[in-house]
């Protein structure tokens, strides 16, 4: 994905004070970091703030990056994940990540999320690229527990291999695979209530 030597040179130029090198790093990685933050946090505003915080932290800790210990993208993703965990702890979102059958609203008689999602009759392959379905899957993803969510985001949305994910999450590869499987299955169960006829 990245040429180690090229990235290492870019980082050295940036540490030396080359503003153009830093701008190139920002241009290269902002899209990836924004997408991770958006899928994990769930909102565009939070994703913007988190992406900005990631780059601020990256800018301050750039001299600590050692290219011999791992790829730059893994290092960047680790910073992103750590900030997302901090953000999650601050916002206490774990109360809202149980099941879609649990009410999203504080009112007891509010509709569960599975009933709020409109029933679709077309096959999923035809609808998966539509905006509405994407929003539905995005909403279901936000209902996963943070451990499962981050695992499936890194694997299925960022195409990272298991070893890199294990490095980022600081867990064994077997645990990574198990979380990914459970995350996928949980997401499917959440969406199955909506797209019952497809499953």
């Amino acid at each position: 994905m990245e040429d180690v030597q090229v990235v290492a040179m870019l980082v050295r130029r940036c540490i030396a004070g080359d503003a153009a090198a830093w701008e190139e790093i920002v241009q290269t990685y902002n899209r990836r970091i924004y997408n991770i933050c958006y899928r994990f946090a769930g909102s565009s505003d939070d994703a913007q703030d988190l992406t900005q915080e990631v780059f601020i932290k990256m800018y301050r800790t750039l001299p600590s990056y050692d290219h011999t210990k791992g790829a730059f993208v893994t290092w960047v993703t680790t910073i992103t994940r750590n900030l997302l965990v901090d953000h999650f702890r601050k916002t206490k979102q774990d109360r809202m990540t149980d099941s879609m059958d649990s009410t999203a609203s504080e009112h007891e008689d509010a509709q569960p999320l599975s009933e709020q999602i409109p029933d679709q009759s077309a096959p999923p392959d035809a609808r998966v690229r539509s905006r509405e379905v994407s929003e539905t899957v995005h909403a279901a993803l936000a209902k996963l527990s943070p451990e499962l969510r981050e695992a499936v985001i890194l694997r299925d949305l960022q195409d990272m291999d298991y070893r890199e994910i294990a490095t980022v999450l600081k867990v064994p590869e077997g645990t990574v695979k198990s979380r990914i499987n459970r995350g996928r299955a949980e997401l499917a169960r959440l969406l199955q209530r909506t797209y019952r006829q497809v499953m």
């Binding site: 992406t51 998966v128 299955a185």
Partner: protein
């Protein structure tokens, strides 16, 4: 996950191979055992289907576009605006400003804005009125000021005229000053007329002691006794008669 054995494979082994099977890296005998376990196990079979469906849903999610201002915000929050491109853009868009315009923008305009405030405008109006009245009283006219020539010859001419006017003024005043000096001399030498003795009111004086207070006369020595009845100096009849004719010359 319950750990049951089906077709020679336990459920935890199935869970470990599930990701590889979905990624397509599982093949051969391992894949056969995996599929056989999925068909017979009531727990792992649905798990395979759900994991595959969930993976399909997630793969269908496309990347979202970051906001256009995100990069600029990141650069501003990390390095400020001091980046190569933004610096070039800023210098290109900023017009050159002369020092006069800089002074005008930084000093004159703020002062002028303050002067235009009604509370200060009234004060400045009163000050201008007082200044114009003062100049009028001293005979300064705006027409004279505007007609002043600053050529060296004109300045030299004005200097000599002013000097001659001052000399003539003191020449004309000199006889008057001499007469004033003579008059003061005569007055100083004239004998002092005895005035009526002042009856001091001693009704509040309960000590019956003579008054200690003395008028101090710096023209008389302290040891000389002056009697009230004695004439001082020559009498008026002894003074010479001076006829004074005063004439005033105007410059």
């Amino acid at each position: 996950m319950p750990d049951r054995t089906s077709n020679g494979m336990q459920c935890h082994e199935f869970d470990t191979l599930l990701s590889d099977a979905l990624d397509g890296v599982l093949s051969g005998a391992g894949l056969d055992r995996f599929e056989a376990h999925a068909r017979t196990c009531k727990t792992c079979g649905p798990l395979l289907a759900e994991a595959e469906a969930g993976r399909t849903w997630l793969k269908g999610l496309t990347e979202v576009e970051p906001p256009a201002s995100l990069v600029a915000n990141i650069l501003a929050s990390t390095t400020g605006v001091d980046t190569q491109r933004l610096r070039t853009t800023a210098h290109a868009s900023q017009p050159r400003v002369s020092w006069l315009e800089h002074v005008q923008a930084s000093f004159l305009e703020p002062v002028w804005a303050m002067v235009r405030q009604p509370r200060f405008a009234m004060s400045f109006g009163m000050a201008f009125f007082a200044l114009s009245v003062s100049l009028t009283m001293f005979g300064v006219r705006w027409q004279d000021i505007s007609q002043i020539s600053l050529r060296p010859s004109a300045i030299r001419h004005t200097y000599y005229n002013t000097q001659a006017r001052v000399v003539r003024y003191f020449d004309n005043v000199r006889p008057v000053l001499e007469l004033q000096a003579a008059f003061h001399g005569i007055k100083r030498n004239a004998p002092a007329e005895p005035g009526p003795a002042k009856q001091k009111d001693h009704k509040n004086d309960t000590t019956q002691q003579p008054e200690q207070k003395q008028d101090r006369n710096y023209s008389q020595s302290g040891g000389q006794v002056i009697l009230a009845g004695d004439p001082l100096g020559p009498s008026v009849n002894d003074l010479p008669v001076v006829s004074v004719t005063t004439y005033r010359r105007f410059v």
